[in-house]
Each structure stands twice: as structure tokens, then as C-alpha cells.
Amino acid sequence: MDLLTQSIILVVALFALLGGGFWVAMSLAAVGLVAITVFSNAPAGLIMSTSVWGATATWTLASLPLFVWMGEILFRTKLSEDMFKGLAPWLGRIPGRLIHVNILGCAVFAAVSGSSAATALTVGKMAIPELTRRGYDEKLIIGTLAGSGTLGLLIPPSIILIVYGVSAEVSIVQLFIAGILPGIMVAALFMGYAAIWSMLNPDRVPEYDFKMSFLEKLNASRRLIPVLLLIMFVIGSIYQGWATATEAAAFGVAGSLVLSAATGSLNWNSFTESLMGATRTSCMIVFIIAGAAFLSVAMGYTGIPRTLAQLIRDMDLSPYTLLIALTILFVILGCFLDGISVVVLTTAIILPMVQAAGIDLLWFGIYVVLVVEMSQITPPVGFNLFVLQGLTGRNILTIAYAALPFFFLMVVAVILLVIFPEVATWLPALATARQ
């Protein structure tokens, strides 16, 4: 059987399983099993158990459950309630005023949660009533939330970057450092758009109703500042090379426990709930990584990724053409798969192709995550749009229309990242050079 037929059979099998509602992790493993038993003579079962064992019993992956746990603890500290009160007093002078609470709130919350749906939901629940009550433009409220909700995937400590790092064998520390500038860039694009929109439509930006002195402002954000410091310390200790990603994550867990004890939200109940929640989430993610690891090894036996890579090399394709094709593919995949599944599928099948085209794997990680973010708000089927639909009760077309400018801003961010790869690669190079 030629490779084309094989590929078609496997792709059809994968989509049938996923579309039929079979669990993502098991779908990946099942396709791997089909690939290896039908198209090779290798002992499938033993390869399955050894490759999964090898992929899960690794020290590098240990930062994942810890960062998940850190998010779960901070999630239970009433952080979201403090966010509006803590951020709002500082934003009076920026054009657009309180609308920036959405963007900055999402950026902060994203750093601790790492899930775009949870970010949009939590920040939205608290900010939407406050902003609509004051008369801010509804379209801009929904749009900024949809867009900034996706920041969670990029701003470190990012769960999805750990997943990419482990599957593509790229240093997680380097990936975290690489994600800093692009994350700031996207947030800046969003804030810039909101500011310019507000300057063009001054009549639709309500008056500012916070009259506070500097000390009162500090007092209002007294519960937000420690969280910010903790996040900055965790990222900083990785950047400075003081700690490995896993150690920084353990420190983050300890710090969040101290914070939640200090704010009085730590008790036996919230502690066990956060721990059990983290256990479930990290189990789910590691199971997907395990399925993908086996799929990746199985694909190696079929020779399909190798042939694809050879094909790319022979066609002498420019990396730009490949990137455009991949962007479209990821946006389509992202419409019905979550970010982590898209990333593990990528690394299992098309990574050799990307390497053959001479693309840096560290840069590619940031690029994939950015495109996956974009796919979360692709009108009209992005995942974040559904979250906001549930939250606001508006129909999906209204939401998609409101999110459209932010979708285009994400496209701009992707283009900037492709034209200036240094946005992602400059900081990691700097950090390596210093150590």
C-alpha cells in the first residue's frame, strides 16, 4: 500500500474517532495502534507500553501538575473579585479607561490559570456587569474579553508551552522566556486598539468614577499586588536561571498557599479541592501527552512523517508558504479541538516536516501557540466565542462580530512574529548568553 493511501486511512480514522466523541487521548492511541499493526510488523503492544512509560515518567513533565495546582489554589483566593477593584483605580488616564481592566485582568489571570476558557469566564463574570452598568460599549467589552481570554495560552507559566516543550523536546525554560515578549506584544496590540477606538468614539466612553489618592489606590489593590509579585518572581527565577521550571512551579505552589492563607481563604476544604482539581486536570493532560507520544512513535514506524519531510525538502518550499498552509490547518483544527490536542497532534506528525523546512523549533512553539490562540476566536466557531455566548446570552453572530477586530489583531501578531522572529528568540538568546 502506498503512503498516500495509508495517510488517508489514518486521517479518516482519526477524524471518525474524534468526531464520534471518543476521548481525545484514546483516539490518538487508537490511531497509533492502527498505524503500527496495519502498516508495519513491529510489536505494537510492547511499543505502546514502553513509549507511554517513557513519555510519562520524565522529570521535565513534573512542572505541569505543579503549575496546574498553583492555578487551582489562586483560583480559590477570590482573586477575580479583587481584580476589578485592584485594577480599575489605575486606568483613569488611559484612553478607553476601564475597558483595559478586561485586557489586563485577563493577562494577570491568564498567567495563573493557563486556560483561555476559564480566563474569559472568570474575568468576564466580574467585569461585564461592572462595565455595562457604567455604560461602556457592549461590543468592545465582548471583543476585548474574547481576545484577551486567549492570552492564557501564551503568557508564562503556560501549560500548553510545557506540553509543546515535552513533546517536541525543546527546553521548557527557553519556551517560557520566549513567550514573554509575544505575550506582551499581543496585550499591547489589544490595548492600543481599545485606546484608539476610544479616542475616535469619545462620546461612547463613559465618565471616570474613581476619585482616589495614590494611597487609596494602593489600598484598593493590596490583594492583587502580592499575586502579581508571586507571578513575577516565578517567571523571574526561571529567567535568571535560579530555578528549573519544576522548582519554580513548586515555589509557585508554596507561594500561592501562603497567599491564600494570608487572605483567609485557605482551609482544609479549599486545600483538598484545589489538590483534587489539579490531580484531575493534570491527569487529563498527561493522558493526552501519553496517547500522542505513542502516536508519534507509531508514525515513525509507518514512515509517513519522514516522507512528508522529504517532500517538503524536494519541493524547496519557502518557509512562508509552509507557515501559511499550517496556519490555515491549525485554525481549522482549533475550531473543534482544544489547544493542547492541536499541539500534540502537530508534534506527533508534522514536526519532522517543520524541521526539514529549516524552521527553529523554539520559535515554532511560540508560533503554534499564537495560532492556536487565534483559532479560539475564529468567527463563528471559536471556542472562546461559545464561552462568551454562555456568559452574555447574546447570539453567537453578535459575539463573533464583536470579536472580529481582535481576530484580525491576532493575525497581525502572527504576521509580526513571522517577519520579526526575534520577538520570540531574542530574550531566550539573551538569557542563555548571560548564564
Partner: protein
């Protein structure tokens, strides 16, 4: 039958609790390493222990998180199916899951048996017998297989799948309805 279901629920939960303890131990070990380094003490074998604890926490929690509906799947298309067809699709999915996880468990047993026979130990300083963490992986996979079998009979008997994610929507509608009445 109900007692069996309760006993199994307890078993999944117990494995979940052990998994959670393993997760917390990773954090504790890593903190010990940071503190140890600060005082110039080297805590031996932290990295290999963390790797094995990660495997333990991930696999032991499988059945527990399965029952909690944490494992993700694309249920978009299923929502459009009529109830009977949807139940059939769920049964096919669960059966496929049983076959796959049963197969996987069997070959993980082969892995454990090999580690036992050759008395394999980890590379690092601790020299932990590999059969211990691999045994945790085997136990977790077997528990998931059992949970899937239980789920199969549960759906067959007309029960709502425990991983069903459409219930939230129904509940929301019901809440709205009560609000309308009052």
C-alpha cells in the same frame, strides 16, 4: 448491584486520593531540593523520584477523573443525534475504550513482568525497582478499564453516562424555568 457500584466508586476515589498525595509529594520534594541547595545540602534522587511520582499521579487518577468527566472529547456532533442513536454511539465508544485499555493494560503487565524478572532499577542514586512505579501505571490502567466496563452496563441499563456533559445545559434551562415562575 448498587453495592458493587458504591464499592467501585470508593476504589476509584481511593486511587484518586493516592494520586493527589503523589502530586503533593512532587511539590514537597522540589521544595526540599530548593531549601537543601540554599543550605548547601544535596537531596539525592529528587529528579528520578519526581518522574516516578508523576507517572503514579497521572495513571492512578485515570478512573477517578474519568468518572468526574475530566477527560476531554469532542461531543459537538453527538449533541445533534437523537437520544437513542446517541446512547448507541456512547456504547460503541465505551466498548472501544474497553478494548483499547484492556489491550494497553495487558501489555503494561508484560512491561511490569519484565521489570520484575530482570530486577530492573532506576538509573539514579536511589535505584528504585522500576516495577513499583510501573505497577502504579498498571493499576491505574486496570481501574480505568473496570470503570469503562461499569459504564457500559450502566448505559445499557438506561443510566446517564457519568462523563455526560449535556446535563449542565438541561440544568440551566430548569433553573431559568423556576426563575420565570417566581
Amino acid at each position: 448491584m448498587r453495592i458493587l457500584r458504591l464499592a467501585l466508586d470508593f476504589a476509584y476515589k481511593a486511587c484518586g486520593v493516592v494520586a493527589a498525595i503523589a502530586l503533593a509529594m512532587i511539590a514537597a520534594l522540589m521544595l526540599a531540593q530548593i531549601i537543601g541547595r540554599f543550605f548547601g545540602v544535596l537531596v539525592p534522587g529528587v529528579n528520578e523520584a519526581a518522574a516516578f511520582l508523576l507517572a503514579a499521579t497521572s495513571f492512578l487518577a485515570l478512573a477517578y477523573s474519568f468518572r468526574a468527566g475530566s477527560h476531554i472529547r469532542v461531543s459537538l456532533l453527538l449533541h445533534y443525534l437523537p437520544v437513542k442513536l446517541r446512547r448507541a454511539a456512547d456504547l460503541v465508544g465505551v466498548s472501544l475504550g474497553i478494548a483499547l485499555m484492556g489491550y494497553f493494560s495487558w501489555y503494561t503487565w508484560r512491561l511490569v513482568a519484565d521489570s520484575l524478572r530482570f530486577k530492573e532499577v532506576s538509573d539514579g542514586l536511589l535505584a528504585i525497582p522500576l516495577a513499583i512505579p510501573q505497577g502504579a501505571m498498571l493499576l491505574g490502567l486496570v481501574m480505568l478499564t473496570i470503570a469503562l466496563v461499569e459504564e457500559f452496563f450502566h448505559i445499557l441499563a438506561g443510566g446517564i453516562p457519568s462523563f455526560d456533559d449535556s446535563r449542565d445545559v438541561v440544568m440551566r434551562e430548569r433553573e431559568d424555568a423556576t426563575i420565570d415562575k417566581t
